[in-house]
């Protein structure tokens, strides 16, 4: 065959391929034309239209809303015509932002926003990719405040306090009112700077069937057997008694099998949240201190100044201390003895909707994100008039817990800006972040997504009106008790690296391969190994880990605070409180607090 001919035909193939490649590059949009068209837009009229049609109710008057929107229009003028990309996990709140608020923002400012929704794990992955490569993937992220210890140390995240005072001053809303954000302390680093802006917030609370707990016959049977009244459990002993009561002694209600406990235990990353979302603090493993125990937090990590010094008991940590082992053991015992047979094989997502099916009497570890799905009509847990048969209440605490410690988990998904994002894009994204949290829109957003994040919204009339449908959500957020529910804090220097150690170790204990003590020992050792690696790496600056020398465990157990020595009796007398009495005490305390603020 003639080689020249062959080469010629190959050349033609190359040209064909090149043409195909060229096609792909033709996707650029003509931004310039769009910008020209936007010059004539009446932004004030758009704002008024959105305020009247969508952003009602609001804690602001219509004039205040118009004024706030006018500021956004004016501040966004230099960025008009831009398209920015932001990303968050999938929650009703973010769906509302992505589908409605992004449109409103465009109508008011002329900045187009692609608000992407993907699985939380993927958001973290994109965030990490951008942090490590320095390439701008998204212009802003909604990222849980659990990463505050990571963000404040690595230096990839823009400290908002600095940004608002310097290069971002001209795009920082005068009506932002930072103190109104109830999760602000969660997004503040050990240096006192705010790193993230809260966007939505949810808690992990105790959930129970109020109708069954109010049933006189059941109440009488419980009191006869256990010697104290059936009610909201204050401690784990009472929770255990109630779990046993429903699973073993009641067994069936209206011909249907009922259970006194629900949980999940599949070997899956979501099993890690079951623990890192404050389970150990509920048992009482850490130290006193809000938002997180100091010097030892609920991950069992001890810090000195702001430096993590160890999580094994031999280094002064509490990840394998008696309280932590007790917390793991109780989780396993209850899962096996009182939860439905299929629960140990379930993940977080599979177990979440189970209580709504009407067979569960109580759940100690329940996320308020499930509220919207639990108040839908026709569910077995909703009355004919639309009011819930269930309530949420403060989580009970374990025997190691002391007054002044955190009592549960509360998380705030927060706007996070990275220093690798070009300044102009970062400023436009900051405007969007403030827009979706502005008082003009925040109450409506809260009513849609039920993830309140502004104090002014929580105290609004609209929330009071909605309260009876929400099973105690509003009452919880209005109560002073709320501050005892907090996310992972600043003791955790690298959340992604440390969080992944938990689920595998816990799963080994659930399956019975190792004892609870061995699982927590292994976890503590692995955490220390990661801390040692971070220490050697030295990238975390002045608040990076600096491990303590190992010494006899007894030395640390003898010191005050965590790690605490084993209690002789881990099951003290069960204690319950009447739900209505509890509510009344919250309302009273909230009133006193409001009064004190006015003084």
């Amino acid at each position: 065959m003639q080689l020249a001919q062959w080469v010629g035909s190959i050349n033609r193939s190359v040209i064909l391929v090149a043409a195909v490649l060229g096609l792909g590059a033709c996707g650029e949009s003509n931004e310039a034309a769009k910008t020209a068209a936007q010059a004539d837009v009446d932004y004030a009229a758009n704002a008024a239209q959105w305020i009247d049609a969508e952003f009602q109710p609001s804690t602001l008057s219509r004039d205040q809303q118009l004024e706030e929107m006018a500021w956004f229009t004016q501040a966004a003028a230099p960025y008009r015509g831009m398209t920015i990309n932001v990303v968050s996990e999938t929650l009703t709140t973010h769906q509302y932002e992505s589908e409605t608020l992004a449109q409103a923002f465009f109508a008011v400012t002329g900045i187009r926003v692609n608000h992407d929704l993907i699985q939380e794990g993927d958001v973290i992955e994109k965030l990490q990719t951008q942090m490590q490569s320095g390439e701008n993937i998204f212009d802003a992220y909604v990222n849980d405040s659990d990463l505050i210890g990571t963000h404040s140390r690595y230096g990839y995240v823009v400290a908002l306090s600095d940004f608002m005072a310097a290069e971002g001053a001209d795009v920082t809303s005068p009506t932002l009112d930072l103190d109104d954000f109830i999760g602000l302390s969660f997004t503040t680093g050990p240096d006192g700077k705010v790193y993230q802006l809260p966007d939505q917030q949810f808690a992990n609370l105790y959930w129970f069937r109020h109708d069954w707990f109010s049933d006189p016959q059941l109440k009488q049977r419980f009191e006869q057997r256990y010697g104290y009244p059936l009610g909201v459990p204050v401690n784990w002993s009472a929770y255990e008694d109630i779990a046993e009561f429903f699973s073993v002694h009641v067994g069936e209600i209206d011909g249907q099998k009922v259970y006194g406990h629900m949980d999940y235990g599949k070997k899956d990353p979501s099993l890690g949240w079951r623990f890192t979302d404050a389970w150990l603090s509920m048992a009482g493993a850490g130290d006193k201190g809000i938002p997180n125990g100091l010097p030892v937090d609920e991950w069992g990590i001890r810090v000195e100044q702001c430096r993590p010094v160890g999580s094994s008991i031999t280094r002064g940590g509490a990840a394998n201390a008696p309280a932590a082992v007790y917390a793991l053991q109780k989780y396993i015992d209850w899962l096996k003895a009182y939860a439905p047979e299929q629960a140990p094989g379930m993940t977080f997502s599979e177990a979440g909707p189970v209580p709504a099916q009407g067979q569960i009497a109580q759940q100690i570890f329940w996320y308020t994100t499930f509220t919207a799905d639990m108040i839908k009509p026709d569910l077995p847990v909703v009355n004919a008039d639309g009011s819930p048969k269930w309530r949420m209440a403060p989580s009970p605490h374990g025997p190691y817990w002391e007054e002044g410690m955190k009592l549960g988990y509360q998380d705030t998904g927060s706007w996070t800006l990275l220093s690798s994002t070009p300044l102009e894009r970062r400023k436009a994204a900051w405007l969007y972040a403030q827009f979706v949290t502005a008082k003009t829109v925040s109450l409506k957003k809260t009513l849609v997504g039920l993830t309140p994040f502004r104090d002014s919204d929580i105290r609004s009339q609209a929330m009071t009106d909605m309260a009876p449908k929400l099973g105690g959500l509003v009452e919880f957020y209005r109560s002073p008790a709320r501050t005892a529910w907090t996310p992972t804090g600043t003791n955790v220097p690298d959340y992604p690296k440390l969080a992944q150690l938990w689920w595998a170790n816990v799963a080994n204990a659930v399956s019975g391969q190792v004892t609870a003590q061995a699982a927590m020992d292994s976890l503590a050792t692995q955490q220390d190994r990661v801390l040692a690696r971070l220490q050697r790496h030295g990238a975390l600056g002045d608040c990076g880990p600096a491990l303590n020398e190992e010494r006899d465990a007894q030395y640390w157990l003898d010191q005050p605070g965590a790690p605490k020595p084993a209690l002789a009796n881990e099951k003290p007398q069960g204690q319950t409180v009447d739900y209505e009495t509890l509510l009344a005490s919250w309302v009273r305390a909230a009133g006193e607090q409001a009064g004190a603020q006015m003084d």
Partner: protein, 269 residues
């Protein structure tokens, strides 16, 4: 009918049920609401709903995900086949210095897991402005599909006697005429099989597609992750999306089925 053939029919029927059951289950999930899915066990949905399909078809994020995926998969298939055809022809017809080594080297590309190439590809595409485009994913997939295509096609082409090349030359046909009008039609089945494998690899690959895209070229496999959230899983919508993701594969098989059967029968895959 003998007892033995009756038994084999039962076994065959059982095997078919076994194969079809997951697909049937996927379809029934897609036709039910989440409360229904989590609440009761049903073989046939008692309250079928099309709401899940409506969500996929009316929400631009969902159908844009399909469009993105299809565009990079087609691009990848086109590039792979058009690059692999001449390459496979050369490997099947010519002996040159290092040909065996080169051929084997192509295969070694298939031996590395895609994760190995994540970081280099990400940095490369970011630096030349290809990040978050369908072309980036298509080119990245080429690293795996081109060697595969060359291997499949070379096997078939080597089976075609070289006398055909000679006869075409003697008849006075140009190489281009011979290659496109005589040689390619002979290898139709091979191309069918190659298209099938390229399409399938690119369609189901998640790791590269996820890492090399942001929001503009987001593939359907990434969009599907939005059904998992802190408020549980949207099983119905996930199942509906999955039903749609099965369809392109079925379509490809439908169109190339004649060639596919011959291709597989020739035992070259």
């Amino acid at each position: 009918m003998s007892r033995r053939s009756r038994l084999s029919r039962w076994v065959l029927a059982g095997y078919c049920v076994y194969l079809i059951l997951p697909l049937y289950w996927l379809l029934t999930l897609a036709l039910r609401s989440n409360a229904d899915i989590a609440g009761v066990f049903e073989l046939v949905p008692s309250n079928p709903t099309l709401a899940n399909f409506a969500e996929i078809l009316t929400n631009p994020v969902w159908y844009q995900g399909f469009v993105n995926s299809i565009s990079y998969v087609l691009l990848n298939t086109l590039i792979s086949v058009s690059v692999a055809l001449p390459a496979a022809y050369v490997f099947s017809r010519y002996r040159f210095l290092g040909d065996r080594q080169l051929f084997f080297w192509l295969l070694t590309n298939r031996m590395a897991p895609p994760a190995v190439f994540l970081l280099p590809f990400f940095q490369l595409y970011s630096s030349i402005g290809l990040f978050d485009t369908p072309l980036a994913v298509a080119l990245a997939h080429c690293l795996f599909t081109v060697p595969l295509s060359v291997w499949i096609l070379e096997g078939f082409m080597s089976g075609v006697p070289t006398e055909i090349d000679d006869m075409a030359r003697i008849d006075g046909h140009s190489f281009w005429f011979f290659f496109t009008r005589i040689f390619l039609p002979i290898n139709r089945s091979a191309i069918g099989v190659t298209v099938f494998f390229c399409f399938m690899f690119s369609w189901v690959e998640l790791l590269l597609a996820r890492t090399l895209t942001g929001s503009e070229a987001k593939p359907i496999v990434v969009v599907m992750t939005r059904t998992v959230s802190a408020s549980g899983m949207d099983w119905g919508v996930l199942a509906a999306a999955s039903v749609f993701t099965v369809l392109p594969g079925i379509l490809v098989v439908w169109f190339v089925r004649q060639h596919l059967v011959k291709g597989f029968a020739l035992g070259r895959v």
